[in-house]
């Protein structure tokens, strides 16, 4: 079953997080009949294998990677026929060309950077459009260099270079939220200095506004860094409580702005007996 939606509702970083965590294999298509910036139709395909981005392009005719290679003058008259034959094979084209010595590892890395990283990173700027993910397709080996990158790592790279965050504004964590690390281990991704600082403060001890003050960064900057860490699965956002009306209630907790992560004591609730639970289940089963 295909997954479809609007980028304005389910953003690309969230899609990538979903595809990476689910180790999905398939094709993600981003389509906009009229791109807001250019006014022209916009179409991109991204192929993933087990949650890793393996290829990207704007065509489905298996000629995208070959064209990139040709543009760089790496296909000569001497090897043209061989390349044409390899395009038809069920092995990533890049790997075949490398094993035959037609391309070197550095050339493959450059191709992957141009074909995948540059294209995918630019997608984070796309404001409108629809996405569709179709699983269980045959991956186009002729479009694959043989290199790949986890979708969330692509997100991290893409968001670091994002200048205009307007598109993702509504997705950013609330300045009153706190962050909690999702693992005690060191991050599996290479973080930059500011990301590391924010990650280290991800123990629920301070909300984002306070973190901004502490690290002498602007609140929007901290929100953006926090968002990056959230969508790559390193921290989770825990919302704070708006205690605006709390003083009017007789039944409130003493919770200040920095304690959204505080565990409520189990003594606040009375235990129920086993006989109660068994009676309840029996009663409910009779109602069905």
């Amino acid at each position: 079953m295909a997954i479809t939606g609007s980028l304005s509702e389910f953003s690309l970083p969230e899609i990538f997080q979903f595809l990476d965590q689910g180790q999905k294999t398939g094709i993600l298509t981003i389509r906009d009949p009229q791109d807001v910036k250019t006014g022209k139709p916009f179409l991109r395909h991204i192929w993933l294998m087990n949650g890793r981005v393996v290829a990207a392009g704007d065509r489905l005719d298996n000629r995208g990677l070959a064209r990139l290679i040709e543009q760089r003058g790496w296909i000569t008259e001497a090897n043209r026929q061989e390349v044409e034959r390899l395009i038809q094979e069920n092995v990533p084209l890049g790997l075949n060309l490398k094993s035959l010595g037609i391309l070197q590892p550095d050339q493959l890395k450059l191709l992957f950077s141009v074909q995948v990283l540059r294209q995918v990173c630019s997608l984070f700027q796309v404001e409108t459009g629809q996405f569709r993910f179709e699983a269980n397709i045959n991956l186009p080996k002729a479009e694959m260099t043989g290199l790949s990158l986890p979708a969330t790592e692509t997100t991290l790279m893409g968001l670091r270079s994002l200048k205009d965050w307007q598109v993702l504004q509504s997705k950013l964590p609330d300045p009153n939220s706190t962050l909690f690390k999702l693992t005690a281990d060191q991050p599996h991704l290479r973080l930059d200095a500011s990301e590391t600082q924010v990650w280290q403060l991800g123990n629920g001890s301070m909300h984002l506004k306070k973190m901004a003050e502490h690290l002498q960064m602007s609140v929007p900057k901290i929100q953006q860094i926090a968002f990056r860490l959230i969508v790559v699965g390193l921290v989770e956002e825990v919302p704070d409580i708006d205690m605006g009306m709390a003083n009017n209630s007789d039944d409130t907790l003493s919770v200040d702005g920095d304690t959204s992560g505080q565990l409520v004591s189990s003594s606040a609730r009375t235990e129920v007996s086993n006989s109660f639970l068994q009676s309840l289940v029996g009663f409910l089963q009779h109602k069905v």
Partner: protein, 177 residues
């Protein structure tokens, strides 16, 4: 009187108030008011404080069911509700993927506040654009299949599926004791 308290949390329009109305033996005490924020685009009225329903099954035994406020902020009412709850169900509308992130925030909030059993209730599975339960679990952050709560699919208007969901929650609570 021995009372078990369940909380029904969830995204806007996932069916929290309906869930409680469908199963309660009393006229549900609701605090629905005209929605004033982005919620108004989805429904005209939303729960501003809480819903309350009850099921009595003995002279001194009752199940109380509370619905959380629907609007996207976590106020003191959440704390009041969750501090005495024995378990909760998180309702998620399958056809509104843009709400999955908010559902995830609710879970983060509740799990950091209390350590009580919970299940996921997926509604609107018959609507166009509905995600599968497997994909919804992923979108909610449940990657490891060994540490996932039970997931039930229900129709908040249908008494049988709502009762089944409550049975599932109570049995899960019993298994976690």
């Amino acid at each position: 009187m021995e009372i078990m308290r369940l909380v029904v949390a969830g995204t806007v329009g996932a069916g929290k108030s309906t869930f409680i109305r469908t199963v309660s033996e009393i006229e549900v005490v609701d605090t629905d008011r005209l929605a004033t924020d982005e919620t108004a685009e989805i429904k005209h009225k939303t729960t501003v404080a809480m819903d309350f329903g009850r099921l009595t099954f003995g002279p001194d035994m009752a199940l109380h069911i509370y619905g959380t406020p629907g609007q996207q902020r976590f106020d003191f009412m959440w704390d009041i509700l969750i501090r005495k709850a024995h378990a909760f169900i998180l309702l998620v509308a399958a056809h509104r993927p843009h709400e999955f992130r908010y559902a995830r925030r609710i879970l983060s909030y509740l799990n950091r506040r209390v350590k009580i059993p919970y299940i996921i209730g997926i509604t609107h599975m018959d609507c166009e654009g509905a995600w599968s339960s497997e994909n919804i679990k992923l979108a909610l952050g449940f990657v490891d299949s060994k540490s996932q709560p039970p997931v039930v699919i229900l129709n908040a208007d249908d008494r049988d599926t709502v009762v089944q969901a409550i049975i599932e929650l109570v049995q899960y609570y019993m298994s976690m004791r």
